[in-house]
């Protein structure tokens, strides 16, 4: 009944190019088993295994650079510059999350059995995110998105006896599964329209004009809904504030950077590979050429531009009236997705470089801001802005480091956030999207107000005077994150070069 399948058969030797991912899976399994034998208040075994695994994966990812482009595992996965960049980023995020969860009262608090599972789940999620960044086939797209989602559901509800945590988890499951249902429907239509499952072959089919325009629009919008939910772009963001507020803070920190970056990686690979014609891609890679030719019926850049404007404006305006810092940072993370989408719709190599650089910077500064929340939650037992009153006298250095993260999130010099925004806006202006740049700049001004609300509480609102001592581990990791936030604001060339090489090696652009 069926033709013979002409698949590039997977082979064991493919695993040579899949080392970081393999390490993360093995780490997950080992940490899970080690948890069964963990004794005492803190599960040192799973912690050490997961942390070590993430670091080994990181080392393997760095040593595999420059990656591919190489299609492996039966063309399901492609290892190229883009994947190479993200598989450095994700184990790094995983390792930082593991480090600061170790001293967090929410994760390691009393009355929690199998605490080690948490570390195993972080490794599993890092694996899922790496695969999202290198998926080259609809099947792998769906499976990797689901792997990250399923892990997220469990992690959001990790504090099983907390009303807030379980509620966050249920809301996440419902919103997440609905979007994944919509996305699956879109994927099925796309398969039907093109008869292919590999991104590259889908593009070929679309270029050959095999697909009906209206049906293609529906399919693509459905897929966009699924991926938009992953990056929490408006109007697919409803879960985001509730989940961020309810989940344990280390988990929120991970959610706010990891799955978002992975969602962007997948969006870039999927939409740039399927909707950008190869000639258009090459034209886009050259500096002076106009936008790449888009396959399909809609004005995609305009559609994404509207999505971007709505996302950043909504995120910033709602963040203005938040008093809970976790919720405030949730809305601010929605706004940052809006900025990143500006780079996405440029369809140029420079736009992608700006996105990747911003994701790198955003991961560092946002993890830093959340770590501040975790560290203080351990001591103060809350995360309202008013809890931070008088912090500049109680813990001057910690307040100063938070100040650096806040300035960086706003995008003020001399911080990394400024450089990230500079590259994004420069490309937007280069491509003559002036109105978009103006809206983005106005939004950055709005964001200054709510970030400075936190600063005002720390520096100008009188509060308790007793000195506050944080967990030494938390202080250490805070310094580890604050230093690059400042350093990258002054000297960023090596990191920009790293990002540029990643985009140059992206198989979707100009390849």
């Amino acid at each position: 009944m069926f033709e013979t399948l002409a698949l590039n058969a997977p082979s064991w030797s493919d695993l040579r190019h899949f080392v970081p991912e393999t390490v993360l899976v093995v780490t997950f399994l080992l940490a899970l088993m080690a948890d069964l034998f963990a004794r005492g208040r803190r599960p040192a075994g799973p912690f050490a295994l997961a942390l070590g695994g993430c670091l080994v994966a990181l080392a393997a990812a760095v040593s595999s650079l420059p990656a591919g482009p190489r299609s492996i595992l039966g063309d399901l996965v492609v290892v190229d510059g883009l994947a190479g960049f993200f598989r450095v980023l994700f184990p790094l995020i995983g390792a930082i999350t593991i480090l600061f969860s170790w001293a967090s009262g929410e994760i390691m608090g009393p009355r929690r059995e199998h605490k080690g599972e948490f570390y195993a789940l972080v490794a599993l999620m890092a694996f899922g995110m790496c695969v999202m960044a290198s998926a080259a086939d609809l099947i792998m797209l769906y499976l990797s998105v689901e792997l990250v989602s399923l892990t997220s559901y469990v992690m959001a509800g990790y504090m099983r006896t907390s009303l807030r945590s379980t509620e966050a988890s249920l809301k996440y499951v419902i919103f997440g599964s609905v979007s994944s249902g919509v996305m699956l429907y879109g994927l099925s239509l796309l398969f039907g329209l093109t008869g292919e499952t590999t991104f590259v072959e889908i593009r070929a089919a679309l270029l050959a004009g095999r697909a009906d325009n209206f049906a293609l629009l529906v399919a693509m919008v459905f897929v966009l809904a699924g991926l938009g939910y992953k990056i929490a772009a408006v109007p697919f963001h409803f879960w985001c504030p509730d989940v961020y507020e309810g989940a344990p803070t280390p988990v929120t920190a991970l959610f706010s950077v990891g799955p978002k970056a992975a969602g962007f990686a997948l969006m870039i690979r999927f939409f740039y590979t399927t909707l950008l014609s190869p000639g258009g891609g090459q034209a886009a890679a050259g500096a002076a050429a106009p936008d790449g030719v888009i396959v399909g019926p809609a004005d995609w850049p305009l559609l994404i531009a509207i999505l971007s404007v709505v996302t950043m404006t909504y995120g910033n305006l709602v963040a203005l009236r938040q008093t809970n810092v976790k919720r405030l940072l949730a809305y601010s993370s929605i706004a940052h997705v809006g900025y990143l989408l500006m780079g996405f719709l440029m369809l140029t190599a420079a736009g992608l470089e700006a996105i990747l650089f911003y994701l790198l910077v955003y991961a560092i500064m946002n993890l830093g801001a959340f770590l501040f929340v975790i560290a203080l939650n351990n001591r103060l037992g809350g995360e309202e802005i008013s809890d931070y009153a008088g912090l500049s006298t109680r813990a001057p250095w910690v307040a100063l480091m938070m100040m650096v993260f806040l300035l960086s999130l706003t995008g003020l010099p001399p911080t990394a956030g400024f450089i990230g925004k500079m590259y994004l806006f420069a490309e937007v202006i280069n491509r003559h999207w002036f109105w978009l740049a103006v809206v983005g700049a106005l939004n950055s001004v709005v964001s200054l107000f709510y970030y400075m609300k936190i600063a005002k509480a720390m520096y100008f609102t009188p509060g308790e005077r007793a000195p506050l001592r944080l967990e030494p581990l938390h202080t250490a990791v805070l310094i580890l994150l604050a230093a690059p936030t400042l350093a990258l604001g002054v000297y960023w060339t090596p990191f920009k070069n790293f990002v540029d090489r990643a985009v140059a090696g992206f198989a979707g652009l100009g390849g």
Partner: protein, 101 residues
């Protein structure tokens, strides 16, 4: 009358819309989870139908994978529901108000 591709697609659309409206209208989270399963099922029907129509087995493979994912999703969803019920004695979505502005 022979049953052709169109019939399957119409069926899938109907199942999808039934699931979607169930998610939007019903307040009992168990029913909502069941409606979500319907939405996933609609995608599977489209995949299977096109797979047969195109003579390409990769759609069937996709359906198998998506079964596994749906099962895992249901398992996690129900586990969370059990926890919620243990804490609140209710699985009504309107009762989930701890996290609102």
């Amino acid at each position: 009358m022979t049953i052709g591709l169109t019939h399957y697609l119409v069926l899938a659309t109907a199942v999808f819309l039934t699931g979607l409206s169930g998610v939007l209208v019903r307040r009992n989270s168990l029913i909502v989870l069941m409606s979500i399963e319907l939405m996933l099922c609609a995608g599977n029907i489209v995949f299977a139908a096109f797979s047969r129509w195109l003579g390409d087995a990769s759609g069937h493979v996709f359906v198998l994978m998506s079964f596994a994912v749906a099962a895992a999703e249901a398992a996690i969803g129900l586990a969370i529901l059990v926890e919620i019920h243990r804490l609140r004695r209710s699985v009504n979505l309107d009762d989930l108000k701890t996290l609102t502005e």
